[in-house]
Amino acid sequence: MPFRTASLALAASGLLLTGTAQAIEYNQVDATRSSLAFTSKQMGVPVPGSFKRFNASIAFDPARPTAASTTLEIDLASIDAGSREANDEVVGKQWFNVKAHPTARFVSTGVRALGNNRFEALGKMTVKGQTRDVVAPFTFKQEGSGGVFDGGFVLKRMDYGIGEGPWADVSAVANEIEIKFRVVANAGPAKK
């Protein structure tokens, strides 16, 4: 009995060792468990919305978070802006102009570790042909076999010309749009 316990402990520590030696990288995005939501403010009223279709790719090694990278591609036509009337409106020319600019893109340029499982993704956000620098704080936690990235940032819609003409009136629809993302990724073989 003591012998068995000891061998078990040995085996376990061996597993742990190989675990840390071969870096785990979270890079298999589980689209069904990931989400991209936002909240706009209309006349002071928070109106929740979301994008149903987006493509996220991610490579995140908790042991080397600053080497992480991610790309997010959003199918703008998949927007749910809270009501049918709003959905019809926001794909139009004055808002996203989906015909000319069907996707929005976020490409990370770096990740900063803030400690306590908190990080910051730096990157470039491109919407409607306009590119801006973005800093998106996020947290990382392991859940079962997957890694969960929860974060968000405030996007100023006027920086990208989202809502032109009469819609440039930020007293009706506020400039600040709160973006919230949740990306769930499973560990896979490191790609490099």
């Binding site: 006349m43 009223v45 928070p46 809270g82 009337e85 819609w167």
Partner: protein
């Protein structure tokens, strides 16, 4: 010199006219705004409509409490059936003063648009988002408004009939001036 005719109390008059004005503004605003194409102006008018309507709802409770503790002046001489119609109209008007804005509030909640009073004070939703219930309360709001329109019409016609045809000074009972 005839004795001055009895009047409603000051607060009763104030509540009557303030709420009458609010309702008479909210109503045409509601009809007008819903046909507009989506625009910042439409969002603004919807908000103004909701704020006015919520004010009516807010004023109702103090008005009711005042009404319960302060009886209206004794009715003017008139046939019993007229008095009965006038009274039932008043009661139904009180009922609609609650049900109309309440159905609007329920509709907004169900449609997923919270009411934020004057753009600063978030008022709790009465239910979660539910498109089916949202459409139901929209129909309820319309129907109750239709009833409100009919009753206010009857109410005003009655007041004017008494004022102009019977010359019994009905209007003065609800007005702080004149004799």
């Amino acid at each position: 010199m005839p004795a001055p005719s009895p009047r409603y109390t000051g607060p009763a008059m104030a509540a009557h006219w303030i709420m009458a004005v609010l309702i008479l503004v909210a109503f045409p605003l509601g009809v007008y705004m819903q046909d507009l194409p989506l625009s910042p102006d439409k969002l603004k008018l919807y908000s103004y409509h909701k704020w006015i309507g919520m004010t009516v709802l807010l004023l109702f409770l103090p008005r009711l409490l005042w009404r319960i503790t302060h009886r209206p002046p004794a009715p003017l001489p008139m046939p019993a059936w007229q008095h009965r119609i006038a009274e039932s109209t008043h009661h139904l008007l009180y009922l609609l003063m609650v049900l109309v804005p309440l159905s609007g509030w329920l509709m907004s909640s169900a449609k997923g648009f919270q009411v934020v009073y004057f753009g600063v004070l978030p008022i709790p939703d009465l239910m979660g988002k539910d498109q089916g219930l949202g459409d139901f309360f929209l129909q309820a709001h319309k129907l109750l408004n239709f009833a409100l329109l009919a009753l206010v019409g009857l109410h005003v016609a009655g007041a004017l009939k008494h004022q102009i045809l019977d010359k019994d000074g009905t209007l003065r009972r609800m007005l702080p001036f004149g004799q």
